[in-house]
């Protein structure tokens, strides 16, 4: 009996019990549109790849991390200095989070520009916006876990922002902190959010998102549609998967190289009584929001500047969520204005991030 016969036997045994041929048939029939925008379709699987890396490295870190006021910083220190390859695992976790968030932004912006959210893909877009929110919340909750002076100060500022939301603000801040101020309750709360609640929520929405993509297929971009281009397609398996593999390998290599050459450091343990260190800044993906809040004056007429800024950001977020319902008809002018907004948003976010970094 050679290897081929053995593997055939195993496959036949599995097929009898699991009926995997249905999945294989689906994958064989699945196609991906081929045009100059195809490059953006690689971002979807890349997000899954980095999420997988986050899960694996996160589990490894959770073996050693202790979410208490006395031990949080020390345990991260031990991971970096005593656990074999611990500093590389933490560094991969840190860089992979940044890669994942960057690619989620690229993925959503590309869909905004090529208008793939139009009928019947409205729910795919909305579930995607939820995934963006979960990913950013992952970053925000994870930032506090090393419990150093920078992460404490950034969390104090971050959890103070919702206070400006009209009516519900105080409640949201108290809920996030587990009390009036950032304390040990905030740490345990953020830890349970980071390793339990958020992964479950993200997996649930991710399943819906992937199901919708499989059910509705990938759209032909509007510019290609307008030019009346014939639909050129490529089989998903194996032609497209092979191409994706190349991107995974390159970005995986870049990730590991960055993790080795630029690992994140760890500051001294946070002191709840100490004043905030100078020049605190959030992670790069929150910088444009942070700078937006900074440029608003203290008071605008009779209202606090922060309340106006937070309310405007919330309105923009709601409009962003309902974008498929706003841009629902292929009207020439309205569609073009909305695409222009996408480019303006990119310009604004880059400019604000640069200003915050240089300022």
């Amino acid at each position: 009996m050679n290897i081929r016969q053995i593997s055939k036997g195993i496959l036949a045994w599995l097929e009898e019990r699991l009926g995997l041929s249905v999945v294989m048939d689906f994958l064989r029939k699945k196609t991906v549109p081929q045009n100059k925008h195809t490059i953006w379709t690689y971002t979807g699987s890349l997000i899954l790849l980095f999420f997988g890396i986050q899960v694996v490295t996160g589990i490894m870190l959770a073996f050693f991390y202790k979410p208490t006021l006395e031990e949080a910083n020390k345990s991260v220190g031990r991971i970096m200095t005593e656990v074999p390859l611990g500093w590389i695992i933490r560094s991969v976790h840190f860089w992979s989070a940044s890669f994942m968030i960057a690619i989620v932004f690229v993925h959503l912006l590309s869909i905004w520009i090529i208008k793939s959210y139009r009928k019947p893909r409205e729910l795919t877009w909305m579930s995607g916006v939820f995934l963006l929110v979960f990913t950013l919340t992952f970053g925000f909750t994870g930032y506090l876990l090393p419990w150093d002076d920078l992460s404490l100060a950034a969390t104090k500022v971050g959890t103070d922002i919702p206070r400006s939301i009209p009516w519900a603000g105080m409640w949201v801040t108290k809920f996030l902190r587990g009390g009036d101020d950032v304390s040990t309750d905030t740490l345990t709360r953020f830890f349970s959010f980071h390793i339990c609640i958020l992964p479950l929520c993200l997996l649930f929405v991710l399943c819906i998102h992937v199901y919708l993509i499989q059910k509705l297929g990938m759209s032909l971009p509007v510019p290609a549609e307008e030019r009346g281009e014939a639909r050129r397609e490529l089989p998903f398996w194996p032609n497209f998967v092979y191409r994706e593999m190349i991107v995974w390998l390159i970005l995986g290599g870049v990730l590991i190289s960055l993790a080795i050459f630029f690992p994140p450091s760890l500051n001294k343990s946070a002191d709840l009584m100490a004043p905030a260190p100078e020049g605190i800044k959030p992670e790069w993906y929150f910088l444009f929001l942070f700078q937006t809040l900074k440029i608003f004056p203290a008071r605008i007429l009779f209202v606090s500047g922060d309340t106006v800024a937070v309310s405007l950001i919330l309105v923009a977020a709601v409009l962003f969520f309902f974008l498929p319902l706003i841009d629902n008809k292929p009207e020439e002018r309205k569609g073009k204005v909305i695409t222009l907004f996408a480019y303006l948003f990119i310009l604004y976010a880059v400019a604000m991030t640069a200003w915050s970094l240089l300022g």
């Binding site: 074999p84 500093w87 191409r243 593999m245 390998l249 390159i250 290599g253 190289s257 001294k268 343990s269």
Partner: protein, 121 residues
């Protein structure tokens, strides 16, 4: 002939993956070797450590936690192992990309001639 070529490529991939992991485990093994001493199982060597003198005990003060921990390889062995691992990783990636490109060409050719389409069958 084709089978032989496939087998050779398969062996080469296995070798690349194995050698990459080997270099990774070398680092782990070095780190463990520093902690686990086999002499611990030698009963003849189970002696108590020398007691500290009173002056030494008085001098010993509680260690201050470091201001900032900057992660880096702990010794020259670890840093060499990391560079070897990085080299192997990028070499493996280059070889795998070369193989995948060949596979893409073949898959595209089969798709172009409608090899798997039901009409042809």
């Amino acid at each position: 002939m084709k089978e032989k070529r496939k087998f050779r490529i398969f062996i080469y991939i296995i070798f690349l993956i194995f050698s990459s992991f080997l270099s990774l485990f070398t680092i782990t093994a070095d780190a463990y070797a520093a902690k686990i001493s086999f002499s611990a199982f030698d009963l003849a060597q189970q002696t108590a450590p020398p007691a500290k003198s009173r002056e030494a005990q008085a001098k010993a003060q509680p260690e201050k936690p470091p201001e900032k921990i900057i992660p880096a390889p702990r010794n020259i062995k670890e840093s060499t192992a990391i560079y070897v691992f990085l080299g192997w990783m990028w070499l493996s990636i280059a070889v795998l990309i070369y193989i995948i490109r060949l596979k893409i060409k073949e898959a595209d050719r089969l798709y172009a001639i409608k090899f798997f389409s039901p009409e042809k069958k």
